[in-house]
Symmetry: C2
Subunit: 229 residues, 2 copies
């Protein structure tokens, strides 16, 4: 994706966008799949936006237990400005899933009064506001999932939200492998597998590779019914 096409410059002409990228001293960096994009130990207060590729924010606690904090796709933003980077008891990193192009801005550059009083400046700030709003909502969704009490509820909640966020006409898709999904739901992998198998046997979940259909179980009411066999 062209740097000037990133979401921060929505509603701004390509010409102005290019000018601002200069004005902001933005940098573009490339990362290979699997490499660490940021480790939040010395990131300063840069704001990153993924132009191409995808990444995940992961945390390793002192026992080496991995948690997938967030999935970052194209146009996702990240930075210390938005993220609790944890105590010294754990390390938060952003790891490239695929090859990635990232554009970095300095937070002060975006926030400071533009000496040239460029009129597009406040549009950028508004765009940033919208991005942060979306991010807040995404974090809220994550909390919704994690606050479910059982693995089955976590899984269904996640699938439901994923399906709701899928454009109509498309088949919803789990953005992770099962192994990674278990680190996202913060549960044991084989216990998660057990629940997936149960839901499949009960006919509630159809799963083909990563594409899935979740049948409405609203009318069932009490999901513990499924656990009977």
């Amino acid at each position: 994706m062209l740097p000037e096409d990133n979401v921060l410059f929505k509603n701004i002409t390509a010409e102005d966008s290019k000018r601002m990228i200069n004005c902001f001293n933005a940098e573009i960096k490339k990362f290979r799949a699997g490499s660490c994009i940021t480790d939040f130990s010395a990131s300063g207060d840069k704001i990153g936006i993924i132009l191409d590729g995808s990444a995940v924010m992961v945390r390793y606690d002192i026992n080496g237990v991995r948690t997938i904090v967030e999935k970052l796709g194209e146009q996702s933003i990240f930075g210390e400005f938005f993220t609790f980077t944890g105590t010294n008891r754990n390390a938060v990193e952003i790891v490239a899933e695929t090859d990635c192009d990232i554009i970095y801005f300095k937070r002060q550059e975006i926030l400071k009064r533009c000496e040239k009083a460029c009129k597009c400046h406040s549009m950028v700030v508004e765009n940033l506001l919208m991005l942060m709003s979306e991010r807040s909502i995404a974090l809220s969704e994550r909390i919704e999932v994690l606050s479910q009490r059982t693995i089955e509820e976590k899984l269904i909640s996640f699938l439901q939200i994923t399906a709701d966020n899928t454009p109509s006409g498309q088949t919803p898709e789990i953005p992770f492998s099962t192994t990674v999904l278990s680190d996202y739901l913060c549960v044991n992998r084989s216990a998660l597998q057990r629940e997936i198998s149960r839901l499949k046997k009960a006919g509630i979940l159809k799963l083909n590779k990563r594409k899935f259909i979740l049948h409405h179980f609203d009318d069932i009411g009490d999901s513990t019914n499924f656990t009977s066999n």
Copy 2:
């Protein structure tokens, strides 16, 4: 607190703030302790800020299980703009803990180009950005806690973050009763109580009413040690 003293008007004179409160058509409402401030079913896209008092964002799922989503103190902001309001499978509400004064803004009023081109406008937007940043970090902290795998880890993580956020010189304090805390950590109350008792017996946690001291257990390394007796 005076309406013009709210965080949205930081770095803006009282005079200008008052003018903008008019310009934005802000409303101030009072709520009694225990009453419902918002139920997110018809809140439109208003942004609320707590001027006085405290509240909690709660969710009830279809089985009536309660989750404390967020604790809101003075100067906290809330609104559909920031929050995943859930599927139709649950109800999210904000409930006043104490008597509350709330100021409401309409999102469009804050975001729209000010016809009078008032110069303070972009400062408000920047302040809003800072507030959202803080909120994102708070949500990240919540995810950090909920992503812990055991009750003991959830509890310690929560206490650690609470202690870290306490100004030095003050004794850290749990902002909830144990019963409510269990709904915040999304675990069973008596199971939580069991863990609290364990940590107290092990000398790691001192708890007096809601004030606590968490002794450094970094040097212990493996917290499962405490479970032995």
